[in-house]
């Protein structure tokens, strides 16, 4: 009697044990599978999304390239055929034009354009004047001009030694802003170029002592050292035309009164008149007249 019930209890117990064990492992597996399946789905969506974006970019690039070709050749180019449906191709075309316009506007900016924008509800305009010398971009200056009742410069960051108001008058700013901006740009670029030349002289020619210069960089007095006796020549460069990068006159002063008339110094005088000062000094070092 006892044997049968024990056997029953034992087998019941072992059945429970097995059930418990399998309950532990079986619920794990379905939810693990569910988890993995969800991850696979998510990755598939991510992959398809990336593929679609890359494809769109590719189509955009192709369309843009053919638009560029059309614009630069002005020819009767065959328009790129889109095998998309027409609404999507319209959107794509619009997008390609968007990138083209952005690039063209950026190009205007890079080549030194005035970046003219309207300000305060059309009451004025703001212009940027970029300066550069020998490929290096230097300061950018800004001018804000009010349009009514008369054209008037309201705000600017042009240095005071640039004759803003007289330039405005001379170039008849009232009639044509562009002429005024052109004249101002010429002055600013010449100033920036002379300033940069001075900076290069100080950087590249340590043996040359700069004795005098002014904020407008329209005068430069340097002490040049002669080879051998270590005596010096005082060299004065006058830039009286403020729209130019080269001096209008060169003057040498030396203990040896005959030196300025010597042929190699006449040549140096031409060098300084015709080439930017930092380059002229390089040539003068090469031809041995200064150290």
């Amino acid at each position: 009697m006892e044997g049968a019930s024990t056997k029953g209890v034992l087998s019941h117990l072992s059945l429970l044990e097995v059930q418990a064990r399998s309950r532990k492992s079986r619920p794990q597996q379905p939810s693990r599978v569910k988890e993995l399946k969800a991850k696979v789905e998510a990755l598939r969506i991510q992959r398809d999304q990336l593929r679609a974006e890359i494809e769109t970019h590719k189509n955009l690039q192709k369309l843009r390239a053919s638009m560029d070709k059309q614009c630069s050749q002005e020819g009767e180019e065959e328009e790129e055929k889109m095998d998309d449906d027409s609404e999507n191709s319209q959107l794509l075309r619009l997008m390609a034009r968007h990138t083209q316009l952005k690039d063209l506007l950026n190009a205007h900016h890079i080549i030194g354009g005035y970046n003219v924008i309207r300000t305060s509800q059309g009451k004025g305009v703001c212009a940027s004047l970029a300066t550069a010398y020998e490929g290096v971009y230097l300061e950018t200056y800004n001018v804000e001009i009010v349009l009514k009742p008369r054209l008037k410069i309201s705000r600017h960051n042009v240095p005071p030694f640039i004759p803003l108001n007289s330039l405005a008058e001379q170039s008849n700013m009232q009639a044509d802003i562009k002429t005024f901006l052109d004249a101002l740009s010429k002055h600013l670029n010449a100033f920036a170029g002379r300033k940069q030349q001075l900076k290069l002289v100080k950087e590249l020619h340590k043996s040359v002592e700069v004795l005098e210069s002014n904020v407008l960089c329209s005068i430069l007095v340097m002490l040049l050292t002669l080879p051998g006796e270590k005596s010096t020549v005082l060299c004065t460069l006058d830039y009286t035309d403020h729209t130019r990068l080269l001096p209008t006159s060169v003057h040498f002063e030396c203990k040896d009164k005959a030196l300025p008339d010597a042929p190699e110094w006449k040549k140096n005088c031409s060098l300084l008149m015709e080439t930017p000062v930092h380059k002229a000094l390089m040539s003068m070092k090469t031809n041995g007249t200064v150290v």
């Binding site: 597996q29 379905p30 599978v33 990336l50 679609a52 843009r64 950026n106 005035y114």
Partner: protein, 296 residues
């Protein structure tokens, strides 16, 4: 029974895990491709452009197409207006600009740009490298390897300026000078055409009205021609100077027929007129002298 099920599950798990690995590799490769695409400046899209991309990739809900389209259209129209404004103010019409990134790391970026367009009648194509180096808040930009392509077959003055500008990579000077040069050439052309209209029997051009020379034919003395030579010179610094001069072509017989003062000394007389009256008035007065001599 449970063991068999757990075996199947393990098999499924293995299959799924393998799929995941493959998909992850694919996604990584695509992300890498996308990163490369993002280096292409032209396609650095933001704002409404990014909305458009999302729409095209099916990310946005249907029915939004018009909204995406109209917003983008609005932005494109604004950009077109802006371009018109810049074109007018800068006096330069740009047709195309393509950029290629040559190098791009944390602080330094080097691009190659190719810009083509025209300034009035002068067509150009310009290629250069633009280097941008970031140092803290400041950013230094430099142009190098400038190459300018222009049809300068009849612009000898300009071509020597061009080689100087290429050597020094003076991009901004090139465009400033191009504009001024173009304006002076247009002045000349307008003046020549004006005189041709006013004095059709006297004025003629060996080439066309865009040439440097205008011929004034003496109505009575067919071999006698006065040539007005109006050149526009460009110094290597970018100084643009119009130079007007008079050349006379007078056959021997004509010199005997008509008093030498009215034609022989013409060149010198013209230079003094130039100093007093300026180019247009001096040329006009020359033309009148030539045409009025009919009546004398």
């Amino acid at each position: 029974m449970e063991e068999k099920m757990s075996e199947e599950n393990m098999e499924e798990v293995r299959v799924l895990e393998a799929q995941i690995e493959r998909l992850q590799a694919e996604v990584e490769e695509l992300q890498c491709q996308q990163q490369n695409n993002n280096k292409d400046i032209t396609l650095q899209l933001g704002g409404k452009m990014q909305d458009a991309v999302s729409y095209l990739c099916g990310q946005t809900q249907g029915g939004l197409e018009e909204k995406v389209m109209s917003r983008l259209k609005e932005e494109v129209e604004e950009l077109e207006e802006d371009l018109k404004r810049q074109t007018q103010m800068n006096g330069i019409c740009l047709n195309s600009c393509t950029t290629k990134i040559l190098q791009s790391n944390g602080s330094k970026r080097v691009q190659k740009l190719c810009v083509s367009g025209q300034c009035s009648e002068l067509v150009f194509q310009v290629e250069f490298q633009l280097t941008e180096v970031k140092e803290g808040q400041q950013s230094e930009r430099t142009i190098s390897d400038l190459n300018v392509v222009m049809d300068v077959s009849d612009l000898q003055n300009f071509s020597s300026f061009l080689s100087g500008v290429e050597e020094r990579s003076d991009l901004l000077l090139f465009f400033r000078t191009l504009r001024t040069f173009s304006e002076r050439c247009d002045d000349r052309c307008r003046t020549f055409e004006h005189f041709q209209e006013k004095y059709p029997s006297v004025v003629s051009f060996p080439g066309d009205s865009r040439s440097e020379v205008m011929a004034l034919n003496h109505p009575e003395l067919p071999g006698c021609v006065l040539f007005v030579h109006w050149s526009v010179e460009v110094s290597c610094e970018g100084e643009v100077t119009p130079k007007v001069g008079l050349l006379t072509k007078i056959p021997e017989e004509a010199l005997q027929l008509s008093p030498s003062q009215s034609l022989g000394g013409a060149a010198e007389a013209f230079q003094s007129l130039l100093r007093i009256l300026g180019p247009e008035a001096a040329v006009e007065s020359m033309i009148r002298t030539v045409s009025l001599s009919q009546e004398s």
